[in-house]
């Protein structure tokens, strides 16, 4: 257990293992994304109330779910880097922020595009939309804080503190925004009890949620690999890697 933890902190090991994970995870992710998108777009029946515009759910819900989860992953990585001074947790935290921001942005954008044919407006100030907007600002704050520091080590520590503060605040923000706008659609997927949406629509949605989690993992690992190379460029193992590389 502890040796695994130590290995996680070792850049060469992480670089190698993430490379071999990506080799099979990336094709699976892309395949799942295409299958899920085609399934949702072409093979499911339209919703009886919203018609075909509901098909956006297969990208809107997964991006929203993963973007919120990504904030917690970022905060946990930040906490690990602050408490145990683990450099690789630092790298993970740094890599998560832009991915999370991009996913939140996509969720907001697809939500807007979904809203126009369904409710006749591009933007509503309802609880969820507003919470997602605040989440986007929280992500952008982390990115901006990181960019503002010249000393990148201090930058990651500052971002870790900020993301922890954000983590404490997110439930409060979500609850207060929910309360502020109490007229919102009830959550449409429940894992316990009866599901509110038909199973023929649920399976592609679950596939897409898994695909987006996998996509997030891929992006995280790829960003971490680039960051590791940059940070470790003066060390022996990277030089050996560069020297042994047959121009691929």
């Amino acid at each position: 257990m502890w040796s695994f933890f130590h290995k996680l902190g070792s850049p060469p090991w992480l670089y190698a293992i993430s490379g071999s994970i990506l080799r099979w995870l990336l094709p699976i992710t892309l395949l799942a994304l295409f299958v899920g998108a085609a399934w949702g777009l072409l093979f499911t029946a339209p919703d009886f109330r919203q018609g075909n515009s509901y098909r956006i759910i297969y990208i809107h819900v997964p991006t929203s779910v993963v973007s919120l989860a990504a904030y917690y992953i970022m905060a946990i990585a930040g906490a690990i880097s602050l408490i145990w001074r683990m450099k690789m947790a630092d790298v993970a935290m740094r890599a998560t922020a832009p991915i999370g921001a991009a996913l939140t942005f996509t969720a907001l954008l697809t939500g807007g595009i979904w809203g126009e044919p369904t409710w006749g407006t591009w933007w509503v100030w309802d609880g969820r939309t507003t919470s997602m907007l605040v989440l986007l600002f929280l992500y952008l704050g982390v990115v901006a804080l990181y960019e503002a520091y010249d000393n990148k080590e201090a930058a990651s520590k500052a971002c870790a503190v900020l993301s922890l503060v954000g983590t404490v605040n997110i439930p409060i923000i979500y609850k207060s925004v929910d309360w502020w706008y109490s007229l919102h659609q009830p959550a449409s997927i429940k894992f316990t009890g009866e599901s509110a949406i038909d199973s023929s629509m649920l399976y592609p949605l679950l596939l897409m949620i898994c695909a987006f989690y996998a996509l997030f993992t891929c992006c995280l690992l790829m960003n971490m690999r680039a960051e590791i190379l940059q940070r470790e460029s003066r060390t022996g193992w990277v030089r050996k890697l560069v020297a042994s590389k047959g121009d691929s």
């Binding site: 600002f137 503190v161 409060i172 207060s176």
Partner: protein, 228 residues
Amino acid sequence: MNAPGTAGFFLRLLRRQLVLALRRPIEIINPLLFFAIVMALFPLGLGPAPDTLAAFAPGVLWIIALLACLLTSESVFRGDFEDGSLEQLLLSPQPLYFSALTYSTAHWLTTGLLLALVSPVFALMLNLPASAIPALAASLFLGTGILSLIGCIGAALTVGLKRGGMLISLLVLPLYVPVLIFGSAAVRGAVEGIPVAPYLAILGAMLSLGIALAPLAVAAGLRISLDA
């Protein structure tokens, strides 16, 4: 050096902050002037109809108070960072948690408290019903405390940076959202005749949480900024 120190130390630190603020009264008056000027912009932008102004007054007053807190919190640690006394504070044996809390308290006493005290005047100018004025003052009294604590986190994280001005608003404003929601809801509730106590209780709960946790983040932020 030790036994009388801890509590006395923080009282002395608080007194020092207040004396420093009083030496430059313009720093204390600035947020109030800001409040007055921005408040005067709203009738110009929205039109002078008393009903419109009264409808917008709870939100408008709260947003201006929030911006005034934000603008002043940027400079909480600035002076002490530049002359090196912040470094001395970090090296001192006193727990940084309480020092951070003291800085926040001093900031609240010189901005939030004063804003809460003068807010009734501006509320009357914006035609807010008189029955809502106690709720406004009380919600600002509690809410600006939270704003000061959160603002200090942002200030601590950006104090070492040359260009922290816009950055701090990006860091801090999303965290202000719950305070704004419940603060303005309290005032609007008072206008509509709903009991205000639950809103104030929620603000008080958030303030307690802030007092417990925010100084930790401020202390961590100060350590990072001074190491950088």
